[in-house]
Amino acid sequence: MRVLITGSSTPLGVALIEALVAAPDVEVVLAIGREADAPVPPTEKLVYQTLELERPRVMHDLLWGPAHDLAIDTVVHGMHHRRSGDHGRRVHLQNVGATRELVLGCRDHPTIRRLVYRSFAEVYALRHTTSDLIDEDEPLDFDPTAEQWTRDRVEADLTVCAQLGRRLSIAVLRFAEIMAPEMGSQLWDYLQSRVCLRPMGFDPMINVLAICDAVTALLLALRSEATGVFNIPGRDTLPLSRVIFESSRADVPVPGPLIAPLYRLRRRIAGFDFRYEMNLRRFHFGGVLDGSRARDALGYTPRMPVHWPTPWWKTLFERLDPRNAS
């Protein structure tokens, strides 16, 4: 297997590169990132290139240059803009334009035969009328008033899905939220405050994914011939209040209409990325990905729990415990 990876500087990209470099059936890994330095030390198998793929010419030259020369046969596309607050044409080009150019380029490419696209659970429309367990047939979020962050992800997802059933073998993996820094995780950013405001009277079920499981899903999809859309849930499903508790944060229920202005103020003052408006429906109605299709077609089962930080009271007890004095 000869693999091209975009978005290789994210924690998921790094973990995937490491897994691929260690895999005996992988001959070459061509990793693309925006950073000047390779995220992992280069090896014989690993080739790293710094490129800004939102420009069509750059994408074309990549596919018909290094990718062609290295006889790349499989592509993992995981490049997305991560900050929810950024918007505009350049962000759209990075999220959607680059995805379109990549898919169209792969479709006509002489050596590339498989594309694995990393999508998001956020593409689904969460309403009070949608199911608690979200399968791949649930409606997507076409709300025109949604943030660009969401609209771009839906558009990019559909851009890839439009090529399903043609020559190129495509798997679209819709990942549950990966709770890790630098992953564009709204939940991670939400939990950076010591006090987490939650809509009063609502405690929805949240599903989170560990990076190890995300890498496992990508590796299974790379080695599989299964095409289509697959939900990739995580192992941990728990109420939002429990997420806050496990993160050792203070859970403060607040009347819903007050939360958005408070978090807007927090964003302006402290520069956090969490936007309550984007998470409003999720914080009311929840929604857990149903991974039965991925289990049946890819053999994927979530196994790794998310690493929750040690609670402050536990750390305090450990410090005060005389047995730990030495």
Binding site: H128, T129, T130, S131, D132, L133, I134, D135, D137, E138, P199, M200, G201, F202, D203, P204, M205, N207, R235, D236, T237, L238, P239, R242, H284, F285, G286, V288, D290, P305
Partner: protein
Amino acid sequence: MSWQSTESFHDEGFGFDAFGLHPPSLASALRVTAPLYERYFRVESSGAEHIPDHGPVILVANHGGVLPIDAAILSLDVLRHTQRIPRPITDHFVPRLPIASTVLARLGVVSGTRANVRHLLERGELITIFPEGVTGPAKRFRDRYQIQSWRVGFAELAIRYGATVVPVAIIGAEESWPLLGKLGTHMFGAPYLPIPASPFPLPARLHLHYGAPIELGYPPAAADDPDAVTEAAATVRGALEDELAVALAFRTGVFR
């Protein structure tokens, strides 16, 4: 509680299932409501042995009263008489209700979307459905124990997933908390705001009669046949009306 260790519960790792069910909360609710079940409503139950011990089951019941006391009593009764956790199916507006949506989810209540019900039946769970929907509680007092509009979706799912249907006649809920009127406000998406005839439920004795289980006998492919689905739904409706007639005939008084 024997059902806490049964296959009925699919723990997702933190003591909750994907729909939000939390068995310790359910056990607490069972303890707290025991005086209501035993002393206030003095529930009389018969035929619970008709409920299969395993496999997908749909309990189909009549619906009435201002608030779904009948649904709550039915759940408590199933928990007391079987080793299964009932999953009551509610209308779409319930997830929009603050506090109530969370409390009900912890007790096993599930919003009535097609996919939710499909997931539950695929897992072989026991669900309780009131095919009258809101038309049951919204009916006038003089129409009590008369089946109102009858949705057929449950029949389609029962055929598709080979679920056993058990009709349940619930007597007493209509007199316990009659509806005086309705306000046309649609707060939180509710179809109306009920005006009860009394400030709290009256201590009418509640009777639950479980009918004989109905195996619809259609192949799964018949779930796509509208005629077969309508016919199956009518069969269940007929069985429920028969149960209601028998139960009402044997009742000696509303409060006795």
